[in-house]
């Protein structure tokens, strides 16, 4: 009843959504259109909205212009995946502790964790560079994975903690009464119940890791074999020329794997955030 909209309201809603989506999708639309046009056509002034020579040539030529493109795409997904695994190893036990146990200094410790959000990687680059050099990790995958995960751990703990707090305590207590150890309870009772929450947090961490690779990649890694797409895609900018059409094609193809994964996960994500992220 109350969710029913009049025709006028409906039209208004759709127009507003259309404007909002235009803003959100405009760069992608233009990237796609650019990838279809020949380079000399892109460089014609005045700007032309339409072209007679659309082709998918850029999608095959890009692998030749930047031979390691496939590797870069793989590296981007691989690094984000590794960051997610590493971050979750730290997130799961800590979130469980914050959600389930009362102990001295809990509030302070949690705030200290959250305070890590205040430090962007860029602020700590100089000493991080030295740490990585001392450990001999510069110009390896680890140079991007190890610092990348650190800045996602606090958010992960916070999200998962709020999710775990929603799981009734009685279930664990029942396990204790039956003589199960704390570790056993965590593994066999809590983890299965928390699975949807773990997926949500894992996907959020992955998105964060995938979106923010650029800084560590350009600062800590010079080896093109380990370069992720956000850094590697700049190879389309040559000394003389920017191969815009191929760069846009590579960008779109490069993010496709993650977009597809995400498409399958998104329902889960929204539902999980609804269940977990709301503080009462």
């Amino acid at each position: 009843m109350m969710d029913r909209y009049s025709l006028l309201e409906k039209i208004g809603l759709y127009i507003a959504i259309a404007i909002f989506l235009t803003f959100v999708l405009l760069p992608f639309f233009e990237m796609f259109m650019t990838s279809l046009r020949p380079l000399d056509h892109l460089r014609s002034a005045p700007y032309k909205f339409w072209s007679d020579e659309f082709s998918f040539d850029a999608y095959s030529n890009m692998w030749v212009t930047v031979p390691k493109l496939g590797r870069y795409i793989f590296n981007g997904v691989f690094i984000a995946g590794a960051v997610t695994v590493l971050a979750m190893i730290f997130v799961v036990p800590a979130a469980y502790a914050f959600a389930r146990f009362e102990f001295k200094g809990k509030a302070v410790t949690l705030s200290l964790f959250l305070a890590v959000n205040m430090f962007a990687g860029a602020v700590l680059l100089i000493p991080l560079y030295r740490v990585l050099r001392t450990l001999g990790l510069l110009n390896t995958y680890f140079a991007m994975i190890i610092p990348g995960a650190a800045f996602l751990v606090p958010m992960g703990i916070w999200l998962l903690k709020s999710y775990l707090e929603k799981i009734p305590k009685e279930l664990e207590e029942a396990a204790y009464v039956d003589g199960a150890s704390k570790m056993y309870t965590l593994r066999r009772v809590m983890l299965p119940l928390a699975a949807p929450g773990l997926v949500v947090v894992g996907v959020s961490v992955f998105i964060g890791a995938y979106a923010q690779q650029y800084l560590f990649a350009i600062t800590f890694n010079q080896n093109s074999d380990y370069m992720p797409l956000p850094a590697g895609v700049f190879e389309f900018i040559g000394y003389q020329d920017v191969v815009w059409n191929e760069m846009m094609a590579a960008s779109l193809v490069g993010v496709l794997p993650v977009m597809l994964i995400f498409l399958f996960m998104q329902r889960f994500l929204i539902a999980g955030l609804t269940a977990g992220a709301i503080k009462e």
């Binding site: 502790a97 146990f101 964790f113 923010q212």
Partner: protein
């Protein structure tokens, strides 16, 4: 039973600390130790050659620099405008996505790409859009007759600044929308139904039920977003590298340029420390003001 309680508690807290220890140790290595090291470096003139203690010299230079004061002002201005836009658009987007109309599921998916893809990739798209000769925006404005010739969005101080803000808002809004959407769905429908029965208009319901109910989420997202926006690096770096003539140089860009691009580790570290101090003060003041407001208006 009564006797074993303290023991149970202490073993419980030992177990809790054991669970937290790995994360804490890891963050100490990657965040806390580098932070302390940054503080130490800020009192030196460290560069690639070596380092020696210079006391407060780096800070004195910053304190006497008009340019640095401008950078601080610019950074707060950047944060304020960008976060305000993100919150307003995020709330608007969340409300639109929450409306029960056909196509809702598809709209929710379509909003997310800027959040999912690497920030650097999205920036490339904007870099191309802002191109004066060949970009869509300049082309469209010429076609509409608003401008006469090509307009390079990133070539002029003011237009570069606001162009970077638009891109920052574009990157940040989807995530905020989704979190607000999650919050909206958490609001009990009973409240709305009661208000509806009482004849409350949709706008009234939004103001008097929705906003107060999701207020805690708005407040925490605002703080988080403010910190992220303050520290936003990739967008400005890819679009303008801080130019033209420092128009888009925020503190984080200034720090990166000093420390990494010109290898002045000492002065760069001093800038990093200033960022941390400013953000800590900002977060502290934000929370104090919030507590005061909560007390005065007694909303929970």
């Amino acid at each position: 039973m009564g006797k074993s309680l303290p023991k149970a508690l202490s073993s419980q807290s030992t177990f809790a600390w054991l669970l937290i220890a790995p994360a804490a140790a890891y963050l100490c290595l990657i965040v806390v130790w580098p932070l302390l090291e940054t503080v130490r470096l800020s009192f030196t003139d460290a560069n690639i050659g070596g380092e020696s203690y210079v006391g407060l010299a780096n800070y004195e230079k910053l304190a006497n620099s008009k340019k640095f004061a401008d950078t601080i002002g610019r950074t707060f201005y950047w944060m304020f405008i960008s976060v305000s836009l993100k919150l307003v658009l995020g709330l608007l987007g969340a409300s639109l996505l929450n409306a029960k109309i056909p196509g809702r599921a598809a709209f929710r998916v379509l909003v997310m790409p800027p959040w999912i893809i690497p920030i650097a990739i999205g920036c490339l798209g904007w870099l191309w859009l802002y191109n004066g000769q060949f970009g869509l925006l300049s082309g469209a404005l010429q076609w509409l007759g608003i401008i006469d010739g090509p307009f390079e969005f990133l070539a002029y101080k003011r237009s570069a600044f606001y162009s970077a803000i638009v891109t920052d808002v574009w990157v940040g809004t989807p995530m905020i929308s989704i979190f607000f959407l999650a919050a909206l769905q958490g609001v009990s429908t009973d409240l709305y139904e009661a208000a509806y029965v009482d004849g409350a208009s949709r706008w009234y319901r939004f103001r008097r039920i929705t906003l107060p109910q999701i207020f805690p989420v708005i407040v925490s997202m605002a703080l988080l977003s403010a910190i992220w926006t303050f520290n936003s690096f990739e967008i400005v770096w890819i679009l303008t590298e801080g130019g033209p003539r420092s128009a888009t140089t925020t503190l984080i860009i200034d720090t990166y340029k000093t420390a990494i691009a010109s290898f002045k580790f000492g002065p760069g570290a001093a800038r990093a420390v200033v960022i941390v101090v400013l953000l800590s003060v900002f977060a502290f003041v934000y929370m104090v003001v919030l507590k005061k407001l909560e007390k005065r208006f007694g909303s929970k």
